[in-house]
Symmetry: C2
């Protein structure tokens, strides 16, 4: 099994996703640098303004700031030389969700045969990309072969992109009808849905990421509440839950990520 | 390096902390069982009431419910036979926070010599206990010897004990002056501060946990804002930040955890 330290993760990310870290701050300094300010222990006194400045510079979920510099969907390219992986015709999608499997199977059907394997994997804390990369590496170790994994985030701008990868725990705690209350105390209701697929050829290989992002708003639940937070995420006046599936797939974070994945698979699957 | 799957974590926890899991649900089923309901994929339709019931039964942060059954501070005992570990006179405390090191060194000074080692460790997602146990195991692997680690959580009752182990990210995003807005949309402002120390004898050994919990309320910041969320956590009318240090140590989550750790060390340190 692989152990992934922050340092290792960072070296990996710096190949393809260095932009997800705050500029000028070596990413491996994040945990070390920030820890003193996180907990209930005495820390050197700094002004609120300075503290905010440091937080903004150092905070690892800086995508809302980065988005202004560069479109987020371009952060994860799938055309770098290191991505020229070999993909078998049969691929294991690691998920315990049969509906998810069916949906992804249907979309990728013409390109690849997706099989299912359910592996118990603990997820790490970190950025969207770190969480997915780590999960993918360990899944490849666990099945000792090529794997596909997926991770979904919901990022609130008012919370500097949190809950992000932790949204699943908040959904469990609050459910779709209460989730929007998290932003009651904040004027800015904007949210970004992020879907990240990762493919790894096998143990020791670097995963490749395919990410889709959709900007919207967190709203009081409208529409069926059976699809996670679909009823609380509004895109241009309509919640995901209120949309026709085909309409949603065109603009959704997952639709965008699957488009990239499908295109890449089409040119990389073994003949 | 050790890889810790949910399954492995669960077997460990079931020795000493089985109570932290919902009764009647095998803990290793949590991730698998819950995953289908977390994300934006079609799931079997169930009623809101049923969904809530399931969420409450399955949700891994069930300590607020458990607290009603049994005082939380008794959940983690330090007198079970498996805890009879051997503790050297010099012990590595894994932290990058010099102030934390100094404070813990001062409190444990008469009992043990605490040295510092700063190891970059990624934390996993999970319950307070899972996060600390995993961090402790990997720290022991990293330094190839005995280690002490610590983790601090802030749990909001209205969010079924979240942010919990993720509080550090929310503190970074919002800071002490904005943190209380997370509960603006909820009537219940009660919060619990949780401090968990873990000691591990070395690679392959089971860590021992020492936990302290203090019930309070999340409030608008009062007092100095230099000590993490101390200015937002009110205990019996006074925020941690407004208290004298000695007064705070008597009732604080960390004070309670350190009391247990100190007592245990005193009877386990090698003569």
């Amino acid at each position: 099994m692989i152990d992934v330290s922050t340092q290792q993760l960072t070296s990996t990310l710096s190949d393809g996703c260095a932009q997800t870290h705050a500029p000028g701050i070596p990413a491996h300094e994040h945990h070390r640098e920030l820890e003193p300010h996180l907990e209930s222990f005495p820390q050197p006194a700094i002004s609120t303004q300075e503290a905010l400045q440091r937080r903004l510079q150092q905070y690892p979920y800086q995508s809302s700031i980065l988005r202004q510099q560069q479109p987020a969907q371009n952060l994860l390219s799938h055309s770098t030389p290191s991505d020229m992986a070999s993909v078998p015709k049969h691929l294991n999608f690691i998920t315990g969700n049969k509906n998810k499997l069916a949906e992804v199977q249907a979309i990728l059907g013409g390109v690849i045969e997706l099989r299912n394997q359910n592996v118990d994997l603990v997820e790490i804390q970190g950025t969207v990309e770190e969480v997915t990369l780590d999960k993918c590496r360990r899944a490849a170790e666990a099945v000792n072969g090529p794997v596909l994994v997926e991770d979904t985030c919901l990022c609130f701008k008012a919370m500097n992109d949190l809950p992000g990868p932790y949204i699943k725990w908040f959904m469990l705690a609050l459910g779709p009808t209460q989730l929007h209350h998290m932003l009651d105390g904040f004027e800015d209701k904007s949210a970004q849905a992020v879907c990240t697929f990762a493919y790894c050829e096998g143990p020791g290989h670097e995963p490749v990421l395919f990410q889709g992002r959709t900007d919207g708003k967190l709203v009081a639940s409208r529409g069926p509440t059976v699809f996670g937070w679909d009823s609380c995420f509004e895109y241009e006046g309509t919640t995901y839950a209120e949309m026709e599936k085909s309409e949603k797939n065109k603009i959704s974070h997952r639709g965008k990520a699957l488009d990239k994945l499908k295109e890449w698979l089409a040119s990389n699957v073994q003949a």
